[in-house]
C-alpha cells in the first residue's frame, strides 16, 4: 500500500505542475483579450491625464512590451515562485493574497462546516420519514434557501438583525481601533462572522440537504440495507453504520468542488458584508484590470482545487475501501 501511495502522489504532483503551467498561460492570454488595461483605469479614475502620464505608467508596469515578452516574464517569475506585483495595490501579490486568506478561510470553514453538518442532519431526517410533514417542510425550506439570491438574503438579515434588533454589526470583520485582548478580539470577530457565515451557510446547506436526502433514499432502498435489517440490526445501527457511510460519498464530492470554488465564490457575501476576503479582491481586480493580482488569485485557486481533489480522492479510499488509488 505505501509504495503505491508514494508513486500515486509523485504522479499526481507531476500532473499538477503541468496543469498549473497550462492554467497560468491560458489565464494570461484570456485576460489580455479584455479591452483596456490597468492604466486606462488609473487614468480614468484620475479624471485627467496627458499622453506622457499614460505612457509613463505603462512603462512602469511593463505593459508597453509585446504580449509574448510579458508572458515570458510572467512565467519566468512564476518559476521563481514570485507572483509579481499588483499594479493597483502597489504591493506584492503574494502578500495581498496572504492578507486576505485568513478572513476567506474563516468564512469558508464556518459556512461550509455549518452547511455540511446541517445538511447532513436535515437530509438524513428528511429521508428517514420520506413524504412526511417533516420531510416536506425541510424540502420546501431547502428549496427556498437555494432559490433566494444571496445579496438579498444578506441585506434582509442586516435589516432585521442589525437595524431592527440591533444585535450584530452589519459589516466588517472586527471593531476598528478597539484595543482588545485576544479573547475579546476572538469574540468580536465571531460577532462579525455570524451574519455572513449564516447567509452563505443557508445557501450551501440547501444543496447538501437535497443531496443527502436523495442519496440516503437511494441507499436505504438497496439490498444490503434490507439484509442488515433482516439480520436483526437496530434501525439506528443500519442507518449510521451501513447506509450513511455509502450515502455520504456524493456529499464529499460536492464539498470538494465547493471548497475549491469558495475561495473566489463568496464575492456577493463579501461585498454585502464588507468582509475582506479573496473573492472581493478578485472581483475588483477584474474591473481594475489588475492582471497580476487576478492571475495570482486564479493560480492560487487552481492549486487549491488540485490539492482538494487529491484530498477527496484519498478520502474516498478511506470511506469506501473498494475504491483504489490508480
Amino acid at each position: 500500500m505505501r509504495p503505491r501511495l508514494g508513486r500515486f502522489l509523485v504522479w499526481r504532483l507531476a500532473q499538477a505542475v503541468v496543469t498549473v503551467a497550462c492554467i497560468a498561460t491560458l489565464n494570461f492570454l484570456l485576460l489580455h483579450l479584455a479591452p483596456g488595461d490597468v492604466v486606462d483605469v488609473l487614468a480614468g479614475e484620475a479624471g485627467a491625464a496627458d499622453a506622457r502620464y499614460v505612457a509613463d505608467l505603462r512603462e512602469k508596469f511593463g505593459l508597453d512590451q509585446p504580449i509574448a515578452v510579458q508572458l515570458g516574464r510572467y512565467l519566468w517569475s512564476l518559476g521563481r515562485l514570485d507572483l509579481g506585483h499588483s499594479f493597483r495595490h502597489e504591493m506584492p501579490v503574494f502578500q495581498l493574497i496572504l492578507q486576505r486568506l485568513s478572513p476567506t478561510l474563516l468564512l469558508m470553514v464556518a459556512s461550509l462546516g455549518t452547511a455540511f453538518v446541517g445538511g447532513l442532519v436535515l437530509g438524513v431526517t428528511a429521508s428517514r420519514r420520506a413524504r412526511s410533514l417533516a420531510d416536506n417542510v425541510i424540502s420546501v425550506l431547502a428549496l427556498l434557501a437555494y432559490a433566494t439570491p444571496l445579496f438579498w438574503l444578506g441585506l434582509m438579515l442586516i435589516v432585521l438583525v442589525t437595524l431592527k434588533l440591533g444585535l450584530l454589526p452589519a459589516g466588517g470583520m472586527y471593531t476598528i481601533g478597539a484595543n482588545q485582548n485576544p479573547v475579546a478580539y476572538a469574540l468580536d470577530v465571531l460577532r462579525h462572522l455570524i451574519l455572513p457565515a449564516t447567509t452563505l451557510a443557508l445557501f450551501y446547506m440547501a444543496t447538501y440537504t437535497r443531496l443527502m436526502r436523495a442519496s440516503m433514499l437511494e441507499v436505504l432502498g438497496s439490498d444490503y440495507v434490507r439484509t442488515a435489517h433482516a439480520k436483526g440490526l437496530s434501525a439506528r445501527r443500519v442507518l449510521y453504520g451501513h447506509a450513511l457511510r455509502n450515502a455520504i460519498l456524493p456529499m464529499v464530492t460536492v464539498l470538494g468542488v465547493q471548497v475549491g470554488s469558495l475561495l473566489g465564490g463568496a464575492v456577493v457575501v463579501e461585498v454585502v458584508f464588507a468582509w475582506p476576503g479573496l473573492g472581493r479582491l478578485a472581483f475588483e481586480a477584474i474591473f481594475q484590470r489588475d492582471i497580476n493580482l487576478l492571475l495570482g488569485i486564479l493560480l492560487f485557486s487552481s492549486c487549491l482545487v488540485i490539492v482538494v481533489n487529491l484530498a477527496v480522492d484519498l478520502l474516498y479510499t478511506r470511506l469506501d475501501p473498494r475504491i483504489a488509488l490508480e
Binding site: A34, P35, G36, D37, V38, D40, V41, L42, A43, G44, E45, A46, G47, A48, A49, D50, A51, R52, Y53, V54, A55, D56, K60, R88, H89, E90, M91, L96, Q99, R100, F151, L155, I158, V159, T162, L163, G166, P169, A170, G171, G172, M173, I176, G177, V271, V272, F273, A274, P276, G277, R280, L281, E284, I286, F287, Q288, R289
Partner: protein, 532 residues
C-alpha cells in the same frame, strides 16, 4: 474730570475683557475635542497620494494627511493654509508665498520653502496627472529664504491660484521623497504630511485609520481624535451603515440616488450639497465629430432639442441635478455666462431639423440608428443613458446602448474613438482652463488619455479663444474671453451640456463644520468635530 476719564477707561477695559471672554467662549463652543469620525471611502483607492492622482477617493483621503499652500472659501476665494500671505505680480508671472513658521511634518521635520520647491518642480510638474498642463508655464520656484517661495512663470497662469489646496497640490516632504521615483515611494500608501491627521494603518479592503496630529500647526485643532476611512463596497450596505449610525459621512452620492431622499428624511441624517464647487460636475452628451453624420450642425442641434433636461433632472437624478445652459457650471460664478444660444426642449423642431438634414423617418419610423455609450462606472450614468435613448426614440432616432465595463469604455472613447454618442459626467474644476478647455481644445486630442478632447472637435477660432484665456491676466478681460467661449461652444455644439450635477454628501447630524469652507469632504477636516 480726570476721574470720569479713568472710569471710562476702566469701563472700556472691562468691556474689552468681557468681549474677549465671550469670543473665547464661542470659539470653545465651536469645536468639541474628541471623538471618532467614520468616513466612507468609495471605491478603495490604490494609494493616498494626491500629487500622483486626482481620483476622487484619493482627493478625499490625501487632504487629511497633507496641507496645501492655500485653502478656499465657499466662493473659491483663496484663504491661508501653509501660506500665510501671498502676492501676485501685476503681470501674473510671479507669485510670492510667505510660509507659515513652525510647521512640522508628521515625522518631526520642519516644513520650509525647500519642500515647496521640491514638490512643485520634482513631483507635481512631472507626475501629477494634470501637472504638466496646469504648471506648463511654471519655470522655477525660487526660495530666497526658508519661509518664502516664489513661483516664476514664463507666461501668466492665473488659474494656478485655484489649485493650491491639499487635495490637488499637496505639499510633500523633500526628505522623504527626494532622490527617488516618487511613484514608488512607500509614503504614497502611508502618507507623511503636515496635515491635521497622522496615518496609522491601512487594512486593505477594510479601513484606513488616522489619528489626531497632536503637533498640528493650528493650535487646538483638529478636534477629532480619530478619523477612520471605511471601505464599504456595497451601496446598500453603506445606506444601512448610515442609517444605523455606524458610518458618519459619505460623498459624493454614497447611496443609490433613489434611496437618498429616504435617508435624508431620517431624523439623524442630513443631505449636504455644499462643498462641491471645486468639482462642479456636469453631465455632457458628446458627439464623435469624426463621424460624417455629426458633421452637419443641424443634426447636433436636433439632438439638443430632443432632450428634456428638466424632466431628466427630476426623473433620473431625483433632483440631484439641474438643466445646464452651457459647458460651464453656473456654480462657477466667476466664469459662467447665461447669454448663450439655448436649445429648448422642442421635439417638433428636432424632427424638422433632422428632416432638413436629410434623415427622414423610414417605414419603421426610424430615421437613423446610433450607438450610445454611457459611462459604465456609475449606475446614474447608465440610467441617464436609458433616458436619453428614450428621448431620442421620440424623434425617430434608434440609439442602442452598449454594455461594457470601465476599461473597455475608456479604450473605446479615448483610444479607439469607436463611438457615436458619449454620455458622461465630468468636473469643471475651479477654472475652465483646467477643466473645460480640455474637451474643446484641438491640441488636447490625445489618443489614450481619458477625459481629453474625445469628440475630436477642432476649430481654429475655438483654439484662439481658449489660448487667449490661458494667458490673460486681467480678470475682466479673461471673463470676456470665457463669455465668448461659452457662446461659441453652444453655437458649434460638439458637446451638448445636459445637466449640472449637484453632488450630495450624506452625513450624521452630529458631524459639525463639514461644509464651513469651500472644499466640503475634500477639506482637511481640521475644523470638523462631532457632538456627543
Amino acid at each position: 474730570m480726570r476721574s470720569l476719564k479713568s472710569v471710562c477707561t476702566t469701563l472700556a477695559m472691562v468691556l474689552m475683557a468681557a468681549a474677549a471672554l465671550i469670543a473665547i467662549g464661542s470659539a470653545g463652543a465651536q469645536g468639541r475635542r474628541g471623538g471618532t469620525l467614520n468616513f466612507i471611502l468609495k471605491p478603495e483607492p490604490p494609494h493616498l497620494q494626491g500629487a500622483l492622482s486626482t481620483a476622487d477617493p484619493i482627493w478625499q483621503a490625501t487632504s487629511k494627511f497633507h496641507n496645501g499652500l492655500l485653502n478656499y472659501d465657499p466662493n473659491l476665494n483663496p484663504v491661508p493654509e501653509l501660506a500665510e500671505s501671498w502676492q501676485v505680480s501685476p503681470d501674473n508671472r510671479t507669485m510670492t508665498f510667505k510660509l507659515r513658521r513652525g510647521v512640522k511634518f508628521h515625522d518631526g521635520h520642519d516644513f520650509t520653502s525647500a519642500d515647496v520647491k521640491f514638490t512643485m518642480e520634482e513631483v507635481i510638474k512631472k507626475y501629477h496627472p494634470r501637472g504638466r498642463t496646469v504648471f506648463a508655464k511654471l519655470e522655477e520656484v525660487q526660495t530666497p529664504d526658508p519661509y518664502t517661495a516664489t513661483f516664476k512663470f514664463s507666461a501668466p497662469s492665473p488659474y494656478v491660484m485655484f489649485v493650491l489646496n491639499a487635495s490637488e497640490t499637496p505639499m510633500l516632504p523633500k526628505h522623504v521623497y527626494g532622490g527617488s521615483d516618487p511613484r514608488n515611494n512607500p509614503a504614497n500608501s502611508a502618507p507623511i504630511g503636515t496635515g491635521p491627521f497622522r496615518f496609522m494603518k491601512w487594512e486593505k479592503g477594510q479601513f484606513i485609520l488616522a489619528e489626531r496630529n497632536e503637533k498640528y500647526w493650528d493650535a487646538g485643532k483638529p478636534y477629532l481624535d480619530k478619523l477612520i476611512f471605511r471601505i464599504v463596497p456595497d451601496a446598500s450596505a453603506r445606506a444601512v451603515g448610515l442609517e444605523s449610525g455606524d458610518l458618519d459621512v459619505g460623498g459624493p452620492w454614497p447611496v443609490p440616488i433613489a434611496d437618498q431622499a429616504r435617508l435624508g428624511g431620517l431624523a439623524h441624517l442630513a443631505l449636504e450639497t455644499r462643498g462641491y464647487t471645486m468639482v462642479s460636475a456636469m453631465l455632457y452628451l458628446e458627439f464623435n465629430m469624426r463621424d460624417p453624420i455629426f458633421k452637419d450642425l443641424k443634426v447636433r442641434r436636433a439632438l439638443a432639442h430632443a432632450i428634456n433636461p428638466a424632466q431628466f433632472a427630476a426623473v433620473v437624478w431625483f433632483g440631484s441635478a439641474a438643466p445646464a445652459t452651457g459647458p460651464i457650471s453656473d456654480k462657477l460664478t466667476r466664469f459662467y455666462s447665461p447669454s448663450v444660444p439655448r436649445y429648448e426642449y422642442a421635439p417638433k423642431k428636432a424632427e424638422a431639423l433632422l428632416d432638413e438634414a436629410g434623415f427622414k423617418r423610414g417605414a419603421d419610423g426610424v430615421r437613423m440608428r446610433l450607438s450610445l455609450d454611457a459611462a459604465p462606472y456609475d449606475e446614474n450614468y447608465l440610467r441617464s443613458g436609458e433616458f436619453v435613448r428614450e428621448q431620442l426614440r421620440q424623434v425617430g432616432i434608434d440609439a442602442s446602448m452598449r454594455s461594457q465595463d470601465a476599461p473597455t469604455y475608456f479604450r473605446r472613447i479615448w483610444t479607439a474613438n469607436e463611438f457615436q454618442l458619449n454620455l458622461y459626467g465630468i468636473s469643471n474644476t475651479p477654472d475652465p482652463t483646467i477643466g473645460v478647455q480640455r474637451l474643446y481644445w484641438s491640441k488636447n486630442i490625445i489618443s489614450g488619455a481619458p477625459f481629453t478632447n474625445g469628440s475630436g472637435y477642432a476649430n481654429p477660432q475655438m483654439d484662439r479663444i481658449l489660448e487667449a484665456a490661458q494667458v490673460e491676466s486681467d480678470p475682466q478681460k479673461r471673463k470676456k474671453l470665457w463669455d465668448e467661449f461659452q457662446q461659441f461652444a453652444m453655437t458649434e455644439l460638439p458637446i451638448i451640456p445636459l445637466l449640472r450635477l449637484d453632488m450630495v454628501t450624506i452625513m450624521n447630524k452630529r458631524v459639525k463644520n463639514l461644509a464651513a469652507g469651500g472644499l466640503g469632504i475634500y477639506d482637511t477636516f481640521a475644523d470638523v468635530y462631532v457632538e456627543r
